[in-house]
Amino acid sequence: MQTANLLPLVLVLAVVAYGLAYMRSRAVAAPLGGIRNLKALPFYYAARAALWCAIPALIVLAAWAGFEGKIIQGIVIASLPQETWPESAGEASLILSQISNVAAGKLNPEFVPEHIAGAASLLENLESQSRNFKAILVILIAILGAAFAWTRVAPHINARKNVETTLRRIFFVCAALAVLTTAGIVFSVIFETVRFFNRVPLSEFLFGTTWSPQTALRADQVGAEGAFGVIPLFTGTLLISAIALLVAVPVGLLSAIYLSEYASRRVRSTAKPVLEMLAGIPTVVYGFFAALTVAPFIRDLAEMVGLEASSQSALAAGLVMGIMIVPFVSSLSDDVINAVPQTMRDGSLALGATQSETMKKVIFPAALPGIIGGILLAASRAIGETMIVVMAAGLAANLTANPLESVTTVTVQIATLLVGDQEFDSAKTLSAFALGMLLFIVTLLLNVVALKIVRKYREQYE
């Protein structure tokens, strides 16, 4: 049986185990005078049975699925005549692929060497055996697990604790996944980063004021390695994110306030999801909009008042990005503002406060922690956005604070370096990983500091 079929089967078994254990626990309870005499609700005995049924079976299933391929392949390869044994892993995978293509009828067996054709039938054989064994084993384990749980349906056993502990562990694993993700990210950039720093000194990277990796297109092309100073990238990131937040925070916050306090229920329930669509419009669309509509408009405007402006500007990218992240601020703020108890509003209104005073002085402070969460998310999204910046603000790493000039950001550089035509081993490509690592570290530090500050603020407040 295929894994794809076994999975639902195990789930069905778990449901059956649930039902049986539920009935049994009620049956056990009946002579004692009702379920109140059990240590836990029937639900918990049942849930425990379902967990016992499903979890070990799934683990075995996963393990089998993980190793089955390797083992079968080993056997198949070993069955080949010795002189045709592959010399490298790549060759092995080719031979195996050939064998499986023959087995699947995609290559004509007449056109391949005989030993391959033989191996193909062996492969088919092994695979069907493995499938059968797997199915039997998994079902057996599921049933055993359920049976064990069945025996443990007894009035003195507190199944609730078991279930809750398991759940709690699962919750913990979910939370810890964030740490694993972080580890994964570090793992995926660390090697290249180290290789990059073997070529470019850390000090130049951190304190250099020019970013111009293109001069290092090829090792044989230019004597120097190019310029890898991240400062213009970070100032660019800062500039654009700041502009974006200057748009998104007021617009988002005021929208949220308007929606939750002034707008009628109908308006609110339509406007909020409509605003949320802003977050889901593909960034390519924003990019075209920024580059073709907003940027030229800004340039014309600037020239009208006698300012010099680039046809790609940080301002254009920032403004459009600001619009994009509005829903992060507006929706999350709306939720927390809405969660402030009505009695707070009543308290303030009864004193003769206007709605805006109530909002500014009572609701807003009470909702502040949640609002800040929304703003941080918006800021994070702004830092991470690439497409808009590439199209509207360009790729020129100018060290400037003038929003009318074109700048570039860290993530844009990472993206263009990674997605563009990459040299497998040049400092240019490697610098993308170093940038990723650096950005990661910087935001991490900022978050640590933020956490400290929030803690302090909270302590003072309490």
Partner: protein
């Protein structure tokens, strides 16, 4: 009490000023909404203006005589014969019925280019499936060539370079007059995978790809996000490790999405040996990317559940887990859904990380499972938007509309749920 009346006086005097403030504040709110909605409106107008023609297809309906001599084909079931046969000839012949003036070989070839690139394949497939039709006359609706389509849809618009010769333009005008060339709703767009010919290209593959990817993302991100938020808010002891997790989550929210692509490449594809370009990997990468959004907003929602509710439940002897499952999560669900909606919307529109794990691929076949090579809507849009053919630019805008529709319908359910669950206490 004079105090009272004087204070009433003060209050009355202050009212004008305060109402001005109130009105101004309200106005700010309205302006903010206006800006946000206005931008959305402009964006939509832009997309629709560019893309509505993507929903129109141009067809040429011809009475084709499937003459075996003309095609050099005696037996349509014979593969060798099929591969040598000329399936274009009957089409040109049918066109000549309408345009008798095309006589030279060059003119005939020009004529043949009015129908789409795969017109001949259509004839071939028809005969292969129904060999009896040989030497009969069939009315067949062909897709017009992309150039004809552009000409018909945008005749007279100088922004579109019309790449038909004068002669072809005349012919097309004539055929339109006769009703041979006609436009109708572009069902091809919704029934096929990608193609290199704009008139043949569809987004069904991308839609299915997006659907599969989003399913994986949702199945991972929603439960895991909520579980993590619940753990951190309700169960986590105040210690260094919890702080560490918290910092990590906030930090992941700021990690550029493309880095998640690197992660997927290094871990899922490199370490675990999963295949490139498949929805499972894409879904997992996007799930990791959306998790912080869901966790952070869920935590905010959990925080805003009043403690009195927890006390009430604990007071009747509910365990911590019961309090959480029975009261906290239901009450926090609107906020959790908001996070999920935004996160999923973001995931649905994301391109960058998918580029690195190979979901930016030309895939014609509609994927049928989580392990089939697939692409997703935003990537399809990205690919089309960077193609040179003008037909693809229209399609890209049309695909954006489809993506937005997709997003709206995906969110509609969540929003409906949220509205039902929402209450002030």
């Amino acid at each position: 009490m004079s105090d009272q009346s004087s204070q009433a006086e003060i209050v009355r005097n202050s009212l004008k000023r305060r109402y001005r403030k109130e009105r101004r504040f309200r106005l700010y709110g309205m302006v903010a909404i206006f800006i946000a909605l206005g931008s959305l409106f402009i964006l939509f107008a832009d997309i629709i203006g560019k893309g509505h023609t993507g929903f129109i297809k141009t067809t040429i309906t011809l009475d084709v005589t499937l003459d075996s001599e003309m095609m050099y084909l005696d037996d349509p079931t014979d593969e060798d014969q099929r591969s040598m046969a000329d399936f274009v000839a009957p089409i040109i012949d049918a066109l000549q019925d309408h345009i008798p003036e095309a006589e030279t070989a060059a003119e005939k070839r020009e004529l043949g280019r009015l129908v789409g690139n795969y017109a001949a394949s259509e004839v071939r497939d028809l005969l292969e499936n129904n060999p009896d039709l040989l030497n009969t006359t069939q009315t067949i609706e062909f897709l017009a060539h992309d150039r004809v389509s552009t000409y018909v849809k945008h005749a007279g618009n100088p922004r579109y370079s019309i790449k038909l010769s004068e002669q072809q333009q005349r012919w097309v005008d004539e055929l339109v007059e006769k009703g041979v060339i006609d436009t109708s709703f572009n069902d091809v767009l919704f029934s096929r995978g990608d193609s290199r010919e704009p008139s043949n290209a569809g987004i069904l593959g991308a839609i299915v790809g997006s659907l599969l990817t989003m399913l994986v993302t949702l199945a991972i991100a929603f439960p895991v996000g909520i579980a993590a938020a619940v753990y951190l808010e309700e169960f986590a002891p105040q210690n260094k490790f919890t702080d560490f997790i918290e910092v990590n989550i906030n930090n992941l929210a700021a990690v550029p999405s493309i880095i998640f692509g690197l992660l997927g490449l290094a871990v899922f594809i490199g370490l675990f040996g999963m295949p490139r370009s498949v929805p499972v990997v894409g879904g997992m990468v996007l799930a990791l990317m959306t998790l912080p959004t869901i966790i952070i907003s869920s935590r905010a929602a959990i925080k805003s559940v009043p403690p009195s509710i927890r006390e009430a439940a604990e007071g009747v002897g509910a365990s911590k887990m019961q309090v959480v499952l029975h009261h906290v999560i239901p009450l926090a669900m609107p906020g959790m859904l908001t996070g999920t909606i935004i996160g999923m919307a973001q995931a649905l529109g994301e391109t960058a990380p998918l580029l690195l794990i190979g979901m930016v691929a030309f895939i014609v076949d509609v994927p049928t499972g989580f392990f089939d090579s697939a692409t997703v809507l935003p990537v399809q849009i990205y690919l089309w938007a960077s193609s040179s053919e003008q037909g693809f630019i229209e399609l890209a805008s049309a695909a954006i509309m489809v993506l937005l529709t997709f997003m709206i319908s995906m969110n509609a359910l969540a929003i409906w749920l949220r509205k039902r669950l929402e209450r002030r206490w």
